[in-house]
């Protein structure tokens, strides 16, 4: 199905099942432990052996030799593979590191050997006996120190944006502006910290390979594996029906899958491999830390006349830049702008996608800057944002937003949160020992449209089977796909059976970039349209005027049970959604306003978040329960980003020292207060026939700044270097409040 013009009225608009607060259809499997994750798929193939990955203990240089004799002599050891046994595999899609092979070390904990043994413990113990001789080279590990050598670079995900993105004349406008702000902000390196590690079981049969793995994008993993192993992708099957979180870490193929495949090939046994948590952090990818500078110029009545946003991060040679300026392109209307990304070379683990790449880091800075500017202007921060709203792409005024209700998000949120009770003077509100503050931020995240296919079968008994390689990374894909099928075919939810996350099924959008829900359901919508046609034809109806409801197909005064259509054999509808240029003609985005109340201990400066509210404008909400879960998960991650998350790099050895979940702290329950989420319901007819948009990343965007702004309002201390921890606060506040 080609989606080239805005969607008209369609069966989804009935909203009998779609849009309803349906609990997760896979919930019972999860809570009973029957949703098996990659490493626990003991049943899929017998005789599994265990692999343990050894990571390099230098960050840059070469391996002179690897002595595996002692490891090989250990009981239970089947095979030791080393990186010296083979040429480097080519880098995967969207990646710059080579995952295995060759003597060159590009970053700490790069995989250099795999031990395969009968038991996990044997493999791990043997790996400790491998002796490696290195030749260490000088590495670059300090972003600030490398800043001067940084080069301007294009935004990988916005190739049409100029490298230095200038509109109007920023310098002149900034020079003339009566009120200006010029501040620098820093965000640290972050880890995805998903619960389930990267893990794979691999098995070969007759030259074909099956991997049971944890992948957000089945197609990308399959193609990368084919590429790296020199196979035809048709000879690889990738299965990933349940995923314990990804946040971008599992978009791309990682070394667990590659080494499981190689280990299995070498031993003739199925082999399972997981990344140990330290390797997830030092061998996997990170959200690259940034140093950002923002300059704003405004008229006295609070209209932005100039905006400049420059962001620097570091990555391996050939790596990409964290597109922190992305939200600044579209969030506020300004006649003069100057946006640029710079990239320095750092020999750290590869910087790559993490939930809301670009926007999350960019808004952490931009939305503090907006708060600071509002204060300089003596304007309420909500009002300041309202004054600078835009209904068109500021760089291309002829390009409107498809739907944009940011002002309503801001107003609704302000009213619900009791924003008018905020005291604009910082440090003015007390509750016992607590200094209390309110903060807010606006949020933007793009809506990405991408092709997605699905197949739906009407079985003889009238039940429906949906097949697509779409993944559910904990987001609720199973549930919204079931709702889509039930709505389209006029069936109860319980009659829909889902088979997901398998490369044997039609290729979907996969999960990432908050594109999964809208695109995968739209692909299924297209397949359902095909099935409706087949059913209508079989029953002798005209597809256009047949209604599908309550298990019946009805046209005029004739009504036939849906199951009738399949009594002589199943009927299948298979199709996908493909998009025209509606996303070029219209800026498609999602918007939110975040409000936060914090208490800051007046003695120790410990911060406790007390209340949070998000108001989201993200198209049609397919399911308010799963959508809310996405947003509160994002808000939680935002609290982590604001207050505690950060990888600490050792600048001598070149690795992240807090490489486990004890050292890399993410919020625990006690950090998270009551969270409220409001969805404005504005179906977007230009996004897809579902009229939905992304939600999963919007919930994170802006939250960090809202927390930081609340801390400022509570204390009068502005920390511009995330996370806002007690030590930074104390450095700015030598006196007790």
């Amino acid at each position: 199905m080609q989606f080239t013009t805005p969607a008209g009225r369609n069966p989804i608009d009935q909203l009998k099942v779609v849009g309803k607060p349906v609990t997760r259809v896979d919930g019972p499997l999860k809570v009973t432990g029957n949703a098996r994750y990659a490493y626990e798929r003991h049943e899929v193939v017998p005789n599994q052996a265990y692999g343990w990955i050894l990571g390099a203990t230098i960050a840059k240089g070469r391996i002179i030799q690897i002595d595996t004799a002692a490891a090989e002599a250990e009981p239970g050891v089947l095979k030791v593979l080393t990186t010296l046994d083979r040429d480097p595999v080519p880098p995967g899609f969207r990646a710059t590191v080579h995952l295995f092979g060759g003597a060159e070390i590009q970053h700490y904990h790069q995989a250099i050997a795999l031990v395969v043994a009968e038991s996990f413990e044997q493999a791990r113990a043997a790996a400790h006996l491998i002796a490696v001789e290195y030749e260490t080279a000088h590495g670059r590990f300090d972003l600030a120190a490398e800043a001067s050598g940084a080069k301007p670079i294009a935004d990988r995900d916005s190739p049409d944006s100029p490298i230095v993105d200038r509109v109007g004349d920023f310098d002149a406008a900034f020079a003339e502006a009566p009120v200006t702000l010029d501040e620098s902000y820093a965000t640290p390196d972050q880890s995805h910290a998903m619960m389930e590690p990267h893990a794979t079981i691999a098995a070969w049969a007759d030259g074909t390979l099956t991997v049971w793995t944890s992948a957000q994008m089945i197609g990308w993993h399959r193609e990368d594996l084919a590429h790296m192993l020199g196979l035809d992708k048709e000879d690889i099957r990738v299965e990933s029906p349940f995923i314990g979180g990804g946040f971008g870490s599992k978009l791309l193929l990682r070394v667990d899958a590659l080494l499981a495949a190689l280990g299995s090939k070498a031993t003739g046994r199925p082999v399972k491999v997981a990344l140990q948590r330290p390797l997830i952090i030092n061998n996997g990818t990170r959200r690259a830390g940034t140093m950002q500078r923002i300059r704003l110029g405004a008229t006295r009545d609070g209209r932005l006349t100039a905006i400049s946003h420059h962001s620097l991060n570091g990555n391996l040679p050939g790596g990409f830049a964290e597109a922190a300026v992305a939200p600044t392109r579209l969030l506020y209307g300004t006649p003069n702008r100057d946006l640029a990304l710079k990239l320095a070379i750092l020999d750290l683990p590869e910087g790559n996608d993490m939930r809301a790449p670009g926007e999350a880091s960019g808004l952490m800075a931009l939305e503090i800057a907006m708060d600071e500017m509002a204060e300089k202007l003596g304007l309420d921060p909500v009002e300041f944002r309202i004054r600078n709203d835009t209904q068109v792409d500021p760089a291309k005024p002829e390009r409107p937003f498809s739907e944009r209700h940011l002002i309503e998000c801001l107003r609704t949120g302000a009213e619900r949160f009791g924003w008018s009770r905020r005291n604009p003077s910082p440090g003015a509100v007390r509750d016992g020992k607590w200094l209390v503050g309110l903060g807010m931020a606006a949020a933007y995240r793009g809506n990405l449209v991408t092709p997605s296919k699905a197949r739906i079968r009407l079985e003889r008994d009238g039940r429906l089977t949906v097949e697509t390689d779409m993944t559910d990374i904990g987001t609720g894909s199973y549930t919204i796909l079931a709702q889509t099928a039930a709505e389209m075919m006029g069936c109860p939810l319980g009659s829909v059976k889902l088979a997901l996350g398998d490369s044997a099924y039609p290729a979907s959008s996969g999960s990432g970039g908050q594109w999964g829900a809208n695109n995968s359901t739209a692909g299924l919508y297209a397949a359902c349209v095909k099935l409706r046609e087949a059913v209508a034809a079989r029953l002798g109806f005209n597809a256009e005027d047949a209604a599908f409801a309550d298990g019946m197909v009805t046209s005029g005064n004739r009504s036939v049970p849906l199951a009738e259509a399949a009594k002589d054999g199943p009927l299948t509808g298979e199709d996908g959604i493909e998009y025209g240029d509606l996303d070029k003609r219209y800026a498609q985005g999602t918007f939110a306003a975040h409000f936060v109340e914090v208490g800051v201990d007046s003695f120790t400066r410990e911060v406790r978040v007390r209340r949070m509210l998000a108001v989201c404008d993200a198209g049609r909400v397919l399911n308010p329960i799963t959508a809310r879960s996405q947003v509160i998960g994002g808000m939680t991650m935002g609290v982590g980003a604001a207050l505690m998350e950060g990888l600490a790099v050792d600048r001598r050895f070149g690795y992240f020292v807090n490489n486990d979940l004890g050292g890399y702290e993410v919020p625990v329950h006690a950090d998270i207060p009551h969270q409220e989420v409001i969805f404005l319901d504005y179906p977007d007819d230009k996004s897809s026939p579902m009229k939905a948009k992304g939600i999963g990343e919007l919930g994170l965007c802006g939250v960090g700044a809202a927390v930081a702004n609340a801390v400022y309002n509570a204390t009068g201390i502005r920390v511009r270097d995330y996370p806002v921890t007690v030590d930074k606060h104390l450095a700015e506040a030598p006196q007790r409040a």
Binding site: R124, K433, L643, Y655, A670, V726
Partner: protein, 316 residues
């Protein structure tokens, strides 16, 4: 983890005999610390002697009116014991400020005292660490040291003692009972139990090889209001950046010890005498001679603020 053998001891004497007889043997109680270290091969015992079925899991009143706590009492049971809650509130509060419910259900009093440090470099066997490999060097000096100690350190090691329970025990003047292979029990005042690193950072405790902790005793209650404030980067499930254990009396006197700042719970009796003068005087005296790094110098003003908070709480 290296292969090891395992036995369950039938009596304290048998446990001690087994550990003494086998080179490289260790006791194991809850295993919440030891097993993690074994997985990283930071600890490589050849033989484990499981002490969990020994009859050392009771809490009894002592003749002087104090408490005798068996070494195998779980952290959960100790924190929720009615007399501990009533008479030694600082201990109860310190314990529940540590780890999580699941861990406290497993963790024992003896094991908690002997938990090893949380210096990030201690956990990476590829980098130098004098505690792990004496003489190899200290990676934390000149590295990431935000969480580490500011006082009581040496040129060889700047790791802090990470425990919470021990800070409260220090304020309460607890004594540790240890039994040796000859069946003799000695008691070690907690002030002497944790060794400063000096020239031998790998030697952390005053326990001799083969000695089994059998109990911890508390002197009779000292009254006062009991406080434990633990500052960390998140609200729960994190080690202290700084913690303060205090017992405060109405006349302004009291006792105070700091956690997270030194290789042992940091109590300086001379500093404590300054309590009536307020937190700044106490901290100035307690941290006299401190040698913080650039990363962790904030711990001293933070300790002062945490103590000020506790004093304010004490005044109600």
């Amino acid at each position: 983890m290296r292969p090891f053998t395992y036995e369950r001891a039938a009596s304290p004497a048998a446990a001690i005999a087994a550990v003494t007889a086998t080179p490289g043997a260790k006791f194991i109680a809850g295993g919440t610390n030891l097993l993690d270290l074994m997985k990283f091969e930071i600890e490589t015992p050849t033989h484990l002697v499981d002490v969990r079925s020994l009859p050392l899991a009771t809490i009894e009143d002592t003749e002087e009116g104090g408490l005798r706590i068996g070494a195998l009492v779980t952290n959960t049971d100790l924190a929720s014991h009615p007399r501990v809650k009533r008479d030694y509130g600082v201990l109860s509060r310190a314990i529940v400020a540590g780890a999580t419910g699941q861990l406290r259900n497993k963790a024992s009093v003896g094991g908690n005292l002997l938990q090893r440090n949380r210096c990030p470099y201690f956990y990476n066997t590829a980098v130098p660490c004098n505690k792990r490999e004496p003489g190899s060097g200290c990676s934390a000096i000149g590295g990431v040291s935000r969480s580490l100690a500011v006082i009581g350190t040496s040129e060889l090691c700047i790791a802090q003692n990470p425990g919470d329970m021990a800070v409260a025990l220090r304020v309460l003047d607890a004594r540790i009972e240890a039994m040796n292979a000859a069946g003799k029990t000695r008691t070690i005042p907690i002030a002497e139990f944790f060794r400063l690193p000096d020239f031998t950072p790998a030697v952390e405790f005053a326990l001799r090889p083969g000695e089994l902790i059998t109990a911890v005793t508390l002197p009779p209650p000292i009254g006062g209001s009991h406080h434990y404030h633990k500052v960390r980067d998140r609200a729960s499930y994190a080690f202290a950046i700084v913690s303060v254990a205090a017992v405060l009396h109405e006349d302004g006197t009291g006792r105070v010890a700091f956690g997270g700042v030194a290789p042992r719970p940091w109590r300086v009796e001379r500093a404590e005498a300054e309590l009536p003068q307020g937190s700044e005087a106490v901290v100035a005296a307690a941290f006299d001679g401190a040698k913080p790094t650039q990363d962790n110098a904030f711990k001293i003003p933070l300790a002062e603020r945490a103590l000020a908070l506790v004093i304010a709480e004490g005044r109600g």
